[in-house]
């Protein structure tokens, strides 16, 4: 399985379209983080120096939403090429155990998303520190539990949605299916909120958005009921969607 993961990284390195896409993804995430930060006067009518340091970091980390959306698209197009190009014939001839083939893609996407998310989060955080210093504001130490919780939550966001995208792509055997599934789950809360509070509160608890926010807004890194339920809900989404994706792959004829 590790050879398949290694080969997929090799493929990214070979294909300039993939390389360029990932570079643009990183540049756009950072740019949007900074744009959100420097347009505060327009969007919120406030000066940067009026905000607490944690809020400055919070705003710039919104750039990671761009990374999440672009990773959803990357994951779906990368995996769907197996079906659209028919290269799944070669892939399954090399690794006929379909669960292993599926897991190799799952771990490849997981590792890639983690590398990109951690790198981007740290870059954006580093830029925030520079912005804070430049504005004679106090920087935030990495020892700050609330900050760490926010950074971890931010790293998990693109990882979570790209794994959903992978499951959707395997299930629907198309990039469109994978993208629609992951984006659907991402934007469904906005639709649910239009319904009466009694209904929407009940449904929103089960959707991943609230759990992802809970992870980022914990304030401390101690295990508690809220953390546990957030982790359980996110894991359930990943597990159920990927079990369905694997089931579809295992039963398909190519």
């Amino acid at each position: 399985m590790k050879h398949l993961i290694k080969a997929d990284f090799k493929k990214i390195n070979f294909l300039s379209s993939h390389r360029n896409y990932l570079i643009v993804l990183c540049l756009l995430s950072i740019s949007f983080g900074l744009i959100f930060l420097f347009t505060l006067g327009v969007t919120q009518g406030k000066n940067l120096t009026e905000l607490p340091a944690m809020e400055v970091i919070d705003i710039s980390l919104l750039g990671m939403d761009v990374a999440a959306i672009m990773l959803i698209i990357f994951t779906a197009t990368f995996i769907s090429k197996e079906f659209s190009h028919g290269s799944i014939h070669t892939s399954l001839a090399i690794m006929p155990l379909r669960q292993k083939f599926y897991l190799s893609k799952f771990f490849f996407i997981m590792i890639l998303s983690l590398i990109i998310s951690i790198t981007l989060t740290l870059i954006i955080f580093g830029l925030d520190q520079i912005v804070l210093l430049a504005n004679n504001m106090h920087t935030v130490s990495l020892n700050n539990q609330a900050l760490l919780s926010k950074l971890i939550g931010t790293v998990i966001l693109p990882l979570f949605y790209s794994l959903l995208s992978a499951a959707g792509t395997f299930y629907f055997r198309s990039a469109a299916g994978g993208i629609m599934f992951a984006l659907g789950v991402m934007f469904l809360p906005a639709l649910i909120k239009l319904f009466p509070a009694g209904f929407s509160d009940m449904v929103l608890v089960l959707l991943p958005e609230k759990s992802l926010h809970a992870l980022a807004e914990m304030g401390t890194l101690t295990f508690n009921g809220q953390l546990m339920s957030a982790i359980l809900i996110l894991l359930s989404w990943i597990l159920i969607s990927n079990i369905l994706g694997l089931w579809k792959l295992k039963n398909a004829d190519f």
Partner: protein, 313 residues
């Protein structure tokens, strides 16, 4: 050794492969023939677990393909030459395969040389002709130096030089003791390379024999006779149980071989001008065998007769 036991594939009510029982032995080039939709590709895909059998099973050295520790060392396949990421170069594609299958990197160089793709190794596959893609597909199938090579329509899009190269390669692989399974609709190519022919239609096995056996069993093989007295010759032949068709200046004789006809002519003082065994090409044989396919479905008697004729000989 690859064994197919009652291998059956059904899609809804349609039976694509129907209870195939075959064994593929090492050192033999097997030609897999059949009309479009006969189940050739589905059978090949079932061997490498791309398609799930509805009934029956395939074993590779007594194991299922999925349970093999190093499947690529057992079977190398070319199912669809276009099933490649066309944005890669030939070298990158082979390098990707070698990494994924944990194969020695030197095999990439070897395969580029073997398939004659050295000069275009750094060109993107999307600029390749079908023939070049076929060569790359063959390289992909051979890169792990497998015991068995399965190639679906490898002659498609190849020029004369490439066809000659592929023929030579198949013979070389069989001489090395490898099992080579080749499907094609180009009968002449199969005739030139295969030791054994398997013909399927509507998923059923119609024929499984060597080319020599097939020629002997063919209804279309006959002895061509030119003689000074065709009427006398015809009478003598018919008296001895031959089936004779009279043409303008010659006879087509079935059920007697050249030697027997020669002796008969001598006994009856007939002068023979020409006496030759006419063997149909594989294409003619293929047409002959699959011609009964329609009857095979709807007229039981004709089907039985046709199969009987093939299986007796």
């Amino acid at each position: 050794m690859i064994k197919l036991n009652n291998l059956t594939k059904k899609y809804d009510q349609k039976t694509v492969v129907d209870q195939l029982n075959l064994t593929f032995k090492p050192g033999v080039v097997t030609g897999f023939l059949g009309p479009n939709g006969s189940g050739k590709s589905t059978t090949m895909k079932m061997i490498i677990s791309l398609v799930h059998p509805t009934f029956g099973k395939v074993t590779v050295d007594n194991k299922s393909y999925r349970s093999l520790a190093e499947p690529t060392q057992k079977i190398g396949t070319l199912i669809d030459p276009s099933a490649i990421d066309v944005n890669l170069t030939a070298r990158q594609h082979l390098s990707f395969i070698s990494t994924a299958a944990n194969i020695d990197k030197n095999r990439v160089e070897d395969m580029l040389k073997t398939t004659g793709l050295e000069k275009v190794q750094n060109k993107k596959i999307k600029s390749f002709s079908l023939g070049m893609k076929q060569r790359l597909g063959v390289a992909t199938a051979l890169i792990s130096n497998p015991d068995t090579i399965i190639l679906d329509e490898p002659f498609n899009g190849l020029d004369v030089d490439s066809i000659k190269w592929l023929r030579k390669l198949f013979k070389q692989l069989a001489d090395e003791g490898k099992t080579v399974i080749v499907s094609s609709h180009l009968m002449s190519e199969i005739q030139a390379v295969a030791n054994r022919i398997i013909i399927i239609a509507q998923g059923k096995l119609l024929a499984d024999m060597t080319i020599k056996e097939m020629n002997q069993k063919s209804l279309n093989s006959f002895v061509y006779v030119e003689a000074n007295d065709l009427a006398k010759m015809t009478k003598a032949l018919k008296t001895n149980g031959a089936e004779v068709v009279q043409k303008k200046d010659s006879l087509e004789v079935r059920n007697l071989d050249s030697r027997e006809i020669g002796h008969l002519a001598s006994e009856h003082d007939i002068v023979i001008y020409q006496l030759k065994k006419v063997q149909p090409t594989l294409e003619e044989l293929f047409m002959e065998i699959t011609k009964g396919k329609a009857d095979y479905v709807s007229h039981k008697y004709e089907r039985g007769k046709n199969n009987e004729a093939l299986n007796q000989g």
